[in-house]
């Protein structure tokens, strides 16, 4: 089975390509890229006026499977990913049971292989049970197919555990994804600490809770020589800490989410629980710093932190609502805003959603080189559409972008040479 994508603007940052070319996929692999390709029997996709990129990759997703299938499962989560243009996702281990052992990793991989729409790369936990007390069997997890380690949703509070985790993971060449948050400074906070929290009478989470934890983990990475990836940076200070660490040669990378470069704490007004996330939405100054970090390369990747929650977990008083939003189906148009607003070039944006995240986790994806798996996304950058939460493919509808007018969408998502989504 072959697919010929004709006349699109191919943007493949991994191979430094930005040109109007045809792309032929055959037997699940990229077979050829060139001008005026012809292939008898191939399914032809007319991509003129469209962008053709390596399949998008999101390395920070909660698929909720096993255990919380009422929020999302591997089928619905990967369907949502495909609709958002993603061909690969890495899923966080805070499932039930927790992905701190080979059996859970294998369950995820098998279910994804049997029923999933896109590639799923499991992330195992740093500590057993996400308790931050003893290390997970990292070697076993790697053997089973985990591509990274994280206690996401919770920080590793104990400095020594984090130190030992970085040291122990080093020979396995596993990156540690740090959810950097000093819980003692978070306290009972439910939104960013500042003027809006003061007005709404809600307890605040200060920026220093993130900065202090980021600084510690960066220093531990420097001290141990281990590889650190800082998840969802949301503050000006975190961006600066990572920028300075990179200059010193520390093996650190980081990521940011669309909600942290699009929204501010103002979105919480009206006690909108879909504006409740962790880290919380911050100030305009932080948003500007995150954008600057993306522009100057401090922030390597764009991720969604796709966090599905059931309506019953959001339709409650603000202080008891769950943290997080779904993001897979809105990430691409929100990221394209950065291009339209001149923050990133198109190529930079594509890199942050393809080859850069692939490189961070060391997964063999994110490139259109001949012989690579035919994971391709066709994007209409001008398509105007309106987000309708009820129509999202995700099981959960917790998005603050409901009703937003968007420009740009994936119109065709191809995984391993198979069309998994078409708009």
């Amino acid at each position: 089975m072959s697919i010929l994508i004709k006349g699109g603007r191919i943007i493949d940052p991994a191979n430094d390509i930005d040109d109007t070319l045809d792309l032929l996929s055959k037997d699940g692999k990229i077979a050829k890229i060139g001008k005026n390709l012809d292939a008898t029997g191939a399914t032809v996709i007319d991509a003129s006026g469209k962008l053709v990129t390596p399949g998008l990759i999101d390395i920070h997703v909660h698929l909720r499977d096993p255990g919380y299938e009422y929020k999302e499962d591997i089928v619905s989560g990967t369907r949502s990913a495909a609709a958002g243009g993603f061909t690969s996702v890495a899923c966080m281990p805070n499932t039930s049971p927790i992905n701190d052992n080979k059996a859970v990793t294998l369950y995820i991989r098998n279910k994804a292989k049997e029923e999933g729409m896109v590639n799923v790369f499991p992330i195992g936990s740093i500590s057993k049970g996400l308790k931050g007390e003893t290390l997970s069997e990292m070697g076993d997890l790697k053997d089973a197919g985990c591509v990274a380690l994280s206690d996401d949703g919770k920080p590793v509070c104990n400095g020594e555990i984090m130190r030992r985790a970085l040291e122990y993971a080093r020979p396995f060449d596993m990156v540690l994804v740090s959810h950097a948050e000093d819980l003692s400074l978070v306290g009972e906070g439910v939104m960013n600490d500042g003027f809006v929290a003061t007005e709404l009478g809600l307890k605040g989470i200060p920026w220093v809770a993130e900065d202090a934890a980021t600084a510690r983990d960066v220093m531990l990475a420097e001290f141990t020589g281990g590889r650190l990836h800082v998840a969802h940076v949301s503050t000006k200070g975190s961006v600066e800490i990572v920028r300075a660490a990179k200059k010193r040669g520390v093996k650190v990378t980081c990521e940011a989410t669309p909600h942290h470069f699009i929204l501010t704490e103002e979105a919480v007004r009206g006690y909108d629980t879909n504006a409740k996330m962790n880290p919380p939405l911050r100030t305009a100054e932080d948003v500007a710093a995150v954008r600057q970090g993306l522009a100057d390369g401090t922030i390597d990747a764009i991720v969604t932190d796709h966090a599905p929650h059931h309506i019953d977990e959001k339709n409650v008083e603000f202080n008891v609502a769950m943290n997080g939003i779904v993001g897979l189906e809105t990430s691409l148009p929100l990221s394209l805003r950065l291009v339209n607003e001149g923050v990133l070039t198109l190529k930079e944006m594509v890199a942050k959603m393809t080859c850069a995240p692939a490189r961070i986790l060391g997964i063999p994806r994110g490139s259109l080189e001949v012989g690579a798996p035919a994971d391709v996304t066709v994007i209409d950058p001008d398509l105007s559409w309106t987000v309708e939460a009820a129509k999202l493919k995700s099981k959960s509808k917790n998005t603050p972008f409901d009703g937003w007018k968007m420009k740009g969408a994936a119109i065709c998502t191809i995984v391993g040479g198979k069309v998994v989504y078409q708009r």
Binding site: E199, Y271, E317, N319
Partner: protein, 310 residues
């Protein structure tokens, strides 16, 4: 002059004219409270549910008396603000009460924004009787009525509010209402109890209590809520009383005719000494008395009462 508000969720939503109307209406109800027969038929046939998710004696009693004096049927419901996983959700509780067709729900809840949540989901009126650290509008309005009664005016007066500003819904509601009425509001509290950005709401922030109350017309002390503030915000109550407590020596810094207020309940010897609380300048019990009149006014106005007869 008409009153356009279906719900009273906070003083933030009220205009200067709204506040004047509420105070004037309350003034006219005060007389009823001193009659032999303290009851008028104004809200006969109306049902008011006092839905209290947080312990309250004074506010709940005050709302109940206010409703009864206007001849409304008042029902008290005390619920515990249970976690999401246990018990009934707030929405379900609200929908069930709504099905019994009340006209007004008066709500007290520990979660900031809970009355806003309720107002978005049900068809009857909602009056906020205090939500978390957000607002407590009827308290601010009774404060204004009390100040006006003693000072004859509001505009131009200086009020010093001292205590735990961060966790105080009274401070926020007072701040919104008082600045709208042309008053100067000074806020003072320990460094751990002054929330960020509060000056953007029009307050002047002081760290030294003596400075804060110097030449003030009104000194309002806030309750230190031991159960809420935990261990990290203060070293000891002894030290708190020393730096932020109101005693006769300190009160002498305020204007000679300054009045002393407190939303209650009092922690005698902590934020306020008994000499001051029971002294000549204290108007604390006037606040309680005015609370009934103000709540009558709110119930009356929210019930669309302008056309009803007083």
């Amino acid at each position: 002059m008409s009153f356009r508000h279906k719900h009273i969720l906070g003083t933030e939503q009220l205009s200067k004219e709204d506040i004047e109307l509420i105070l004037d209406t309350a003034e006219s109800f005060k007389e009823i409270n001193s009659r032999e027969i303290k009851k008028v038929p104004t809200l006969r046939g109306k049902t008011i549910v006092n839905l209290f998710y947080e312990a309250s004696t004074r506010t709940r009693t005050s709302f109940e008396i206010a409703g009864k004096r206007l001849s409304a049927d008042t029902i008290n419901m005390t619920a515990s603000a249970s976690s999401v996983t246990k018990g009934e959700t707030l929405e379900d509780t609200a929908k069930n009460i709504e099905a019994m067709k009340p006209d007004i729900i008066v709500m007290r809840h520990s979660a900031s924004g809970a009355p806003n949540y309720l107002a978005e989901r049900i068809s009857c009126s909602v009056i906020n009787a205090g939500d978390g650290a957000h607002e407590h509008p009827s308290q601010a309005l009774l404060d204004l009525l009390t100040i006006r009664q003693h000072k004859g005016k509001l505009a131009g007066l200086t009020v010093a509010i001292v205590g735990d500003i961060s966790h105080s819904r009274v401070a926020r509601s007072d701040l919104y209402a008082m600045t709208k009425m042309g008053m100067t509001v000074r806020l003072c509290g320990p460094g751990t109890m002054v929330p960020p950005g509060i000056e953007k709401l029009g307050a002047k922030v002081y760290t030294d209590m003596d400075e804060a109350i110097t030449d003030a017309d009104v000194v309002m002390m806030l309750r230190i809520q031991l159960e809420r503030q935990g261990k990290t915000l203060l070293p000891t109550l002894r030290e708190y009383a020393r730096f932020y407590g109101l005693n006769p020596t300190r009160l002498a810094l305020a204007k000679k005719d300054a009045i002393v207020m407190h939303p209650g309940p009092l922690n005698r010897g902590v934020e306020i000494s008994s000499y001051v609380a029971d002294g000549e300048q204290s108007v604390i019990l006037d606040q309680v008395e005015n609370g009934v009149a103000v709540r009558m006014a709110l119930l009356y106005l929210v019930a669309g009462g302008e056309h009803a007869e007083v």
